[in-house]
């Protein structure tokens, strides 16, 4: 018997429309029926207050309110209907200090982009099966940060079976290979 995902509500936030749409599709494919979407941090917080979703998945870099500011509002704003909601932040950042910054602002899990579908589902499963206790201290409110440190690039080296150039045309592929060879030479000269 698998998860009854149709019973849960998820809020996805991303200011890049194709990424918002793709993430929503991935959740629908998994079985989530109630997926709310927002293209900005402000809209997301309004939706969050109205709908009180069970999980939030948000991009980091957005303007004017970014994903970490959204997390802070969810955790500390008096309007927030659920300060404990799990929040997964998706980002291309993967340096240790960036991941720790996100964690220090109250993020539950960090998903490095680009990701594979199984990575997203694994993070969601982790949130469901391994909830984090919360810490309320003078300077911090959020999921307990005492966990193994892991800052290196976590994302997959994607699409190993990818076509090298994605054209499916040998003449175009040859031109692409020539372009790249020239770039290698140019890079060598520029950076010696």
């Amino acid at each position: 018997m698998a998860y009854k995902l149709e019973n849960a509500r998820v809020l996805v936030v991303d200011d890049m429309p194709p990424m918002l749409s793709l993430t929503k599709s991935l959740l629908n494919i998994a079985g989530f029926k109630n997926v709310l979407t927002a293209g900005s941090g402000e809209t997301a917080f309004d939706l969050f207050c109205r709908e009180s979703p069970d999980l939030v998945i948000t991009d980091w870099i957005m303007e004017p309110m970014d994903g970490l500011e959204l997390v802070e509002r969810i955790r500390t704003d008096t309007m927030s209907p659920d300060r404990y909601v799990p929040v997964i932040v998706m980002s291309g950042f993967s340096s240790r200090f960036r991941v720790e910054t996100a964690r220090d602002r109250g993020v539950t899990e960090f998903l490095v982009k680009p990701f594979m579908a199984k990575d997203l589902y694994a993070k969601i499963e982790h949130v469901i099966e391994h909830p984090r206790q919360f810490v309320e201290a003078e300077q911090f409110f959020g999921p307990d940060r005492r966990r193994r440190r892991r800052g290196d690039y976590e994302g997959p080296r994607r699409r190993e079976d990818d076509g090298a150039y994605g054209t499916g045309n040998s003449a175009t592929d040859k031109r692409a290979a020539d372009t790249l060879r020239k770039l290698v030479e140019e890079t060598r000269k520029r950076t010696q």
Partner: protein, 167 residues
């Protein structure tokens, strides 16, 4: 459900999502179906990449004309390069993603954007520009790997010269 340690209070909130979805995990074929949706997406990333490249060029120009600080420049470059890495990789331009990952690591490991660092950033920018202009999707095969390696070597020489251990 709560315990106090020194000045911190530990709270074990109810697991609302678990209560709603129950147990059993995801259906076994979900990851495969999801990956197919990613691989089959027909989103054209090139216009987005062009916008990010324009932003990158503007930040570099602002910095070279003394309009923004070294620190702001690094942060703005990192944010833009991160978008190329993240979204390029999600939407079929994995070579762009690899190149952007290399330069993002450099930007996240320097405390001063000096002339040497800027030259490396520009070499990466130049490569990405040409890849976008030629709509070169995928990994670029052997030549793509060689390009990534060459750019990585440039970063390694920089790290060695300035005694940096990238994290």
């Amino acid at each position: 459900m709560q315990k106090t340690l020194r000045n911190a209070r530990f709270i074990k909130p109810p697991n609302k999502i678990k209560q709603k979805v129950g147990g059993g995990g995801f259906e076994p074929d979900v990851a495969k179906k999801g990956q197919k949706a990613i691989d089959d997406t027909d989103v054209d990333f090139a216009p987005y990449a062009e916008k990010y490249l324009k932003d990158l060029a503007e930040v570099i120009a602002d910095y070279e004309h003394g309009r923004i600080s070294n620190e702001d420049t690094r942060e703005r470059l990192a944010a833009t390069v991160m978008q190329l890495k993240a979204n390029g990789g999600m939407f079929s331009y994995s070579l762009i993603s690899e190149i952007a990952d290399t330069i993002l690591l450099l930007l996240d490991n320097i405390s001063d954007l000096n002339r040497d660092a800027l030259d490396i950033v520009k070499a990466h920018q130049n490569s990405i520009q040409i890849i976008v202009a030629t709509r070169l999707k995928g990994s670029g095969g052997r030549e793509g790997s060689e390009l990534v390696r060459e750019l990585g070597n440039a970063c390694t020489r920089f790290y060695t010269k300035y005694g940096i251990s990238p994290q």
